[in-house]
Symmetry: C2
Subunit: 233 residues, 2 copies
């Protein structure tokens, strides 16, 4: 038996592609996004009382991963990309039912032209992600201080140093739309978004990720990350 679900809303985020998105929510608190409810769910009554919670669960669709075939084992990037674990022992987007689960900070509930927008922070979500459900984070149920985890027990421990070229700093200064853009870029790149399987031995290589409406370019050397420029798309 199969069940059908209709999205109740959509994510608007600076991430226009998967590369560079932090691998779990909460790693980059500066990361601001919006959850825009869709009709007929976009009514203030449906979120009444939600403003009393500091955090919410978002159950969403991994919409860029739905067409790829399901495999019983995956290679999580946090394990270096070459150890395999069962798909149900991972948070990989390539799952039998591609439903994602992220806890994010709820900054504000806004009603605009009768519709509802939630301002959220720390979301590891692609722009355009369809949202299936929103639930309050209940500390007395969801907080389990005694929980143990197998692999990936901690946040990524080694952060790279991030420096900017003069050109990159100027371009950031000219980009008024994005609040705290320098700090956001620093936090995203210190997590080292390079694919684990690349071996990380290509110092000359220039990486690019689409952020907002530009292509963020950087490279990595012994001193850390150098942000080169915000190239137009």
């Amino acid at each position: 038996m199969a069940y059908q679900f209709q999205p109740i809303g959509t994510i608007q985020s600076p991430f226009k592609e998967k590369f560079g998105i932090p691998r779990q929510p909460g790693l980059v608190p500066e990361l601001r996004a919006q959850l825009v409810l869709s009709a007929p769910y976009s009514q203030p009554e449906a979120v009444a009382g939600l403003e009393g919670y500091s955090h919410i669960w978002i159950q969403f669709l991994f919409h860029r991963s739905v067409k790829e075939a399901w495999q019983p084992m995956v290679r999580p990037p946090r394990l270096g990309g070459n150890r395999r674990v069962g798909v149900f022992a991972s948070r990989s987007p390539f799952r039998p039912n591609p439903i994602g689960l992220s806890v994010v900070r709820l900054e504000r509930v806004r009603v605009e032209d009768g519709g509802v927008v939630l301002d959220i922070a720390g979301a590891d979500l692609l722009d355009g992600t369809p949202v299936l459900d929103i639930k309050p984070y209940l500390p007395y149920v969801d907080n389990i201080p005694a929980a143990r985890s197998g692999f990936a027990p901690q946040a990524p421990p080694v952060l790279l140093k991030v420096r900017f070229t003069q050109r990159a700093l100027e371009q950031i200064g000219e980009y008024p739309e994005a609040e705290n853009l320098e700090s956001l870029i620093r936090r995203l790149l210190e997590l080292d978004p390079r694919p684990a399987y690349s071996g990380k031995t290509q110092p000359a290589r220039i990486y690019g990720m689409r952020l907002y409406d530009f292509d963020l370019r950087w490279r990595v050397d012994e001193q850390g990350v150098e942000v080169l420029e915000l190239a137009a798309l």
Copy 2:
């Protein structure tokens, strides 16, 4: 656009009906249940590594609630049943997409006749619940000690005293299948499963809930709960 999902497994639990189920997971740790994976997902590879986690998320279908119409506001039982909040500010089963989310303790991963069964504890799930996904609980992401909640900030604070009639104790003694049945019944009833809107002013009333293959009967007076009997169905 609508998305279709196929269950990956099913819950086997002592709860044959909704009445009496604890209102959140983890409230009754003695509560043992099984998650039985279905073909083609029921293979040891799909859960490899999961045994390293103490807790897992279960995303499931509120299958007894799917046919009721969606309403923008609900009356959570923890608020006494007469204050309404938005459906997205609640964990109510009556939601636009009836997808539930529960964290449970993972006791064991078993492979039986080539299929996979997870022994879980603390589940607030009805027998026969279709499971859509399993994910590991990652403490560094899912634990948010600083989270604040609006209503229902704590576990139910007032627990009822539970006593048993001689007849009930004898019946429990004759019921070998259920491990720790007396303790389980005590924990379920001290939470006071009576509907909030009943006013709780009917001391003579006998309540019944289906547990395993019997009907558990009790009443409530000034001293607390009296367990009367385990009636045959």
